[in-house]
Symmetry: C2
Subunit: 104 residues, 2 copies
C-alpha cells in the first residue's frame, strides 16, 4: 500500500463545510506539504494560494478550472489548479484525495 | 500545533458509513500505530481488536463502553476501550479524534 515515509503529520484536522470536507496536513523533510482529505457528496468552491496538484485516489466528482469546462473523474485521476485561483467541485461519491502544494 | 514526527502515513483513507467516518493510518518507528479520524454526526458501533485509546481532539459525542452508562465528551477528552469489545457512539457535532492501538 502506498505510504509516505519520514514525514510529520499535524494531529488536528482541517475541517470545512460542517465536516463534509476534512483533511490532514503532512509535512515532508524537503519543506513541502501535502494534505490528505475526504470530501462527502456536495458542491464546493475552493481557492488556491500555491499551485495545487489534486490527486484523486478514489471517488466520483466533476471539477471546473477557471476558463475551462466541467471535467469528470470517476475512480482516480489528477488535475492541477494554478496559484491564486478558484475552482469548483461537484462530488457525487466519497472522494479520497491527496493534494500537493507546488512552489512552481 | 501538536504534530507527530518521523512517521509514515498510508496514502489511502479508511472510510466507513458512506464516508461519515474516515481515518488515516499513521505508523510510528517503534512499530505502533494510530489513526487520525473524523466522524460526522450519527450513531455508530465499532469493534476493537487491540485495546484502544480514543483521544477526542474536538467535537461533541456520547460513548458507551461495555457494561457502563453513556458518558459525554464535549470539546476534548480521552477514553479507553478494552480489546475485543464493541462500543457505541452518538456523535452530535463533527468529531476529530486520534485513536492509539495499545498492545497492553
Amino acid at each position: 500500500m502506498e505510504q509516505f515515509n519520514n514525514v510529520s503529520i499535524i494531529k488536528k484536522a482541517n475541517t470545512y463545510q460542517d465536516g463534509k470536507v476534512s483533511s490532514r496536513t503532512v509535512l515532508f523533510e524537503d519543506g513541502t506539504k501535502k494534505t490528505l482529505g475526504i470530501m462527502l457528496p456536495g458542491e464546493y468552491e475552493f481557492s488556491t494560494d500555491l499551485k495545487e496538484e489534486m490527486d484523486i485516489v478514489a471517488g466520483h466528482l466533476e471539477y471546473k478550472l477557471p476558463g475551462e469546462d466541467w471535467k469528470e473523474i470517476n475512480g482516480s485521476g489528477v488535475f492541477y489548479v494554478p496559484a491564486n485561483e478558484k475552482f469548483q467541485l461537484k462530488v457525487y461519491s466519497v472522494v479520497d484525495y491527496c493534494c500537493s502544494y507546488l512552489a512552481e
